[in-house]
């Protein structure tokens, strides 16, 4: 019983803990294995979300690729990755060794390519992929990316396409990752739900710009980049809150929310749970403090003990008083 207080559920997937890696910030098996504390980290995780995978390899954007801001990080990586085939061959089998559910983050340039990529992955993964996270929200690629995520009709088509690509008889969790670069996040959220997504994850990075006052020109070749880290926590929290409050499927946890954005301490995790997230992803904080998952798990356990409660009971609890 003791161990179960950290458990949570996303769709049909039971998670040992509500702590997930955030796409693009967790590397893959090789990077995790490089850490002396890799075992403890894997034990603190509920699932592993991979970095963004595309059908073909992508080289990513020119340098510079990251700029630190006050309490945050602007990145313009541009989804550098080895492509689906090498991911399947080199990364997936190693990730599988950690005995964690593996959720693959997928990106593409067209509605059709999302479906093609999903079908390709699921046909060649030897059953090792637990879920797909559809990234319709990357601000750093010219095509697709955010432009997709803000148009509810496109979101709906992308999600439908990916759902249809799941082979019959296989239970694959479909998560849709939403962008915060929009006035009302519930609009694309509802579109994704209408298309049958099993869960929502939010938020991806917030668009931002940095200008070098010495050269008097923008730092990034693409001018704008994506902001992450502690700076965006209130934004992510607000969007989780809105979806939980305004979308009945989220409120009933039929379509659970995975909270993302600036989560750096166990207190942040509790806040997101209270706002309505069923699980969370941690990105930037992991760079700053590689022990973060281990420490979060400890902190969370103590909080649950002190308050005699469980993760499941905390989800959306803060809404109780303001419905």
């Amino acid at each position: 019983m003791e161990e179960r207080r950290l458990e949570t559920t996303i769709g049909n997937l039971h998670l040992r803990t509500p702590l997930l890696t955030a796409s693009g910030t967790s590397g893959s098996a090789d990077e995790l294995a490089g850490l002396r504390e890799s075992k403890a980290t894997a034990q603190a995780l509920g699932a592993f979300v991979t970095k963004g995978v595309t059908l073909e390899p992508r080289r990513g954007n020119p340098e510079p690729r990251v700029i630190e801001t006050r309490a945050g990080l602007l990145n313009s990586i541009g989804l550098q990755n080895k492509g689906a085939d090498r991911f399947l061959r080199e990364d997936l089998p190693k990730l599988w060794q950690y005995e964690l559910p593996v959720i693959v983050n997928i990106s593409a340039n067209s509605v059709e390519d999302y479906a093609k990529l999903a079908a390709h992955l699921l046909a060649n993964d030897g059953g090792q992929i637990t879920g797909l996270e559809i990234n319709v929200s990357c601000p750093n690629i010219k095509e697709g990316g955010v432009a997709f995520g803000v148009d509810p009709k496109v979101v709906e088509r992308v999600v439908r396409g990916v759902k249809a690509a799941v082979p019959r008889g296989r239970d694959v969790l479909i998560v849709t990752k939403l962008t915060p670069n929009i006035t009302d996040i519930t609009v694309p959220a509802k579109a994704a739900i209408a298309a049958g997504t099993d869960a929502l994850s939010m938020i991806n990075t917030v668009r931002g710009v940095a200008i070098n006052i010495h050269t008097q020109e923008p730092y990034f070749a693409n001018v704008s980049a994506g902001l992450s880290g502690p700076a965006i926590k209130p934004i992510g929290l607000c969007m989780v809150w809105d979806c939980f409050a305004k979308i009945p499927e989220c409120r009933r946890r039929k379509v659970p929310i995975i909270g993302i954005g600036g989560i750096s301490t166990w207190e942040d995790v509790v806040e997101y749970l209270l706002a309505g997230a069923s699980a969370v992803q941690v990105g930037t904080a992991w760079f700053v403090y590689p022990d973060v998952f281990v420490e979060m798990k400890k902190g969370l356990e103590k909080y649950l003990d002190d308050n005699k409660t469980t993760v499941r009971e905390l989800i959306g609890k803060a809404h109780g008083t303001c419905s």
Binding site: G24, T25, S26, G27, D30, E31, A33, G34, L35, R36, E37, K51, R59, G60, P62, E63, P64, R65, V66, I67, E68, T69, R70, A71, G72, L73, L74, N75, I77, Q80, A210, I211, N212, I213, H214, T215, Y219, A221, G229, P230, T284, W286, F287, V288, Y289, P290, D291
Partner: protein, 475 residues
């Protein structure tokens, strides 16, 4: 009795072995066999250390049956049980006797986050301070090997974000408005210190060259880095404020290690080190390792002014020596075992005044280090290779010079880093792959050392990395 293999190895170097003692022109190695610390060995080693003082004429060598056992004995936690001993394993000695040179793989691993205790944070350069020397203690980093690096926080551990402790009634100072950098900063390690070994032990140590590739000192627990406070930087000015006794969160060891014994296998005899300013810092540990294994090292240092390198070396006191006036880089190179006649210095601002220390005046030069190096390339003896680190423009010139002279070159790259662990793809540099295509490699996991011929220097779609960040309004 020592196995015949060791005797054969020593023979090749002209040493004679009787019982458990090898001799050569007044130098002695005394061998001990053990797989764990024992009182008798400790007492014997202590006697040797006391009689020899720091002349390194007589050295104890502890031989463990297996390499794994040797690694356990070498741990810096055991340093007092094996005072000033070198270590070897029978396994490796046999392999060396059979003609193989042990070379560690360049795989990364064992990255850990740890707390380092600051021992010293000394300004360098008199009136216009821009360099600092930071010494810290971190047994967790003992397995670090050149040219691996660390990433460190810019604030002491446990100071909560933005709030600092203040005396009662002085709340105005409670909120720290200085910018709070989120990310750690990457730095190379300049020197490491082995308990019981004085800072310049490599200079005094003269090991039989054939045997040396299988002898190891105790693992280090003190480390030194040299860093430059950037004029518009946010992190380095904060690092400069760290005080002795404070602890700082660090991450390491990062990057791929480079085992210099690999060069022995390649037949290299002479190694050129070309360092531009603070770029010399991370190369010095490599130099120490090269000298330990008996390579000839010529070091070419480019600096702005000699004055900017002066500082008061307090660390000498840790080894029972008087604090003294020293020059960073120059004294580090000499301590790492480079003979003075192989140290070359060029100053942009004019020919440096006499440095002393036995460095011949002909080795001092006015102008850029690349011009100095160009002059000296043809004077190499035997098979040569080179290492460089410094400003981009300098490195590009060194690439040209070495290419013309037919000297293989490796470069140490510094890039903006996010994580240091290979997960964020922010530290990339363009490289040519074996199949001719180009790709972005990560400096933190594929580097920091690269073969110069793999790097695409003219990288048109990249902006020059700038020294400033957007963190902060500056006063």
């Amino acid at each position: 009795m020592l196995p015949i293999q060791i005797k054969n190895l020593l023979d090749r170097d002209g040493w004679t072995l009787r019982d458990a003692t090898a001799r050569h022109r007044g130098r002695r190695l005394e061998f001990f066999f053990t797989s764990r610390p024992t009182r008798a060995v400790t007492a014997a080693l202590r006697r040797i250390q006391r009689a020899d003082r720091n002349r390194f004429q007589t050295i104890g060598v502890v031989i463990a049956p297996t390499t794994a056992a040797m690694q356990r004995l070498r741990s810096c936690a055991n340093a007092d049980k094996f005072p000033r001993a070198l270590f070897a394993s029978l396994e490796e000695l046999r392999a060396v006797a059979a003609g193989t040179i042990p070379v560690k793989s360049d795989k990364r691993g064992g990255i850990t986050s740890f707390k380092a205790e600051i021992l010293e944070n000394t300004p360098v350069g008199g009136a216009q301070i821009s360099h600092y020397r930071l010494a810290f203690k971190a047994p967790s980093l003992q397995n670090m090997q050149p040219p691996q690096f660390i990433m460190m926080d810019t604030k002491p551990a446990r100071v909560p974000f933005g709030v600092r402790p203040v005396p009662r009634g002085q709340l105005r100072g409670a909120i720290d408005l200085t910018p709070q950098p989120l990310l750690k900063r990457p730095f190379g390690i300049c020197r490491d210190f082995h308990p019981h070994f004085p800072i310049d032990y490599v200079k005094r140590l003269r090991l039989p060259p054939t045997l040396a590739v299988a002898l190891y000192p105790v693992l280090p627990d003190h480390f030194d880095m040299l860093y430059k406070v950037l004029p518009h930087g946010v992190g380095t000015p904060l690092i400069a404020k760290l005080k002795r006794g404070q602890t700082v969160n660090m991450l390491g060891p990062l990057g791929r290690p480079f085992d210099v014994r690999r060069l022995r296998a390649e037949g290299v005899e002479e190694v050129h080190i070309i360092g531009g300013g603070v770029g010399m810092a991370p190369l010095i540990l490599l130099v120490e390792s090269l000298r330990y294994y008996g390579f000839r090292v010529k070091a070419f240092l480019g600096i702005a002014t000699l004055q900017s390198l002066r500082y008061r070396d307090e660390l000498a006191a840790t080894f029972g020596e008087q604090p003294r006036d020293a020059y960073i880089y120059i004294d580090d190179l000499l301590a790492a075992g480079v003979p003075p006649e192989d140290v070359y210095v060029s100053c942009d601002s004019g020919k440096p005044a006499r440095i002393g220390r036995g460095i011949p005046p002909a080795n001092l030069f006015a102008g850029f280090v690349t011009d100095l190096y160009r002059r000296e390339t043809h004077r190499s003896t035997g098979k040569t290779c080179a290492f460089t680190c410094g400003p981009n423009r300098m490195m590009e010139l060194v690439v040209e010079i070495t290419a013309q002279a037919g000297i293989p070159l490796r470069v140490l790259l510094e890039k903006r880093m996010g994580c240091g662990m290979g997960v964020c793809f922010s530290c990339v540099c363009k490289v040519r792959l074996a199949d001719g295509a180009d790709d972005y490699a990560r400096v933190c996991t594929d580097g920091p050392l690269f073969d110069a011929k793999d790097i695409l220097w003219k990288n048109d779609d990249s902006k020059q990395p700038s020294a400033t960040c957007t963190c902060a309004p500056r006063s």
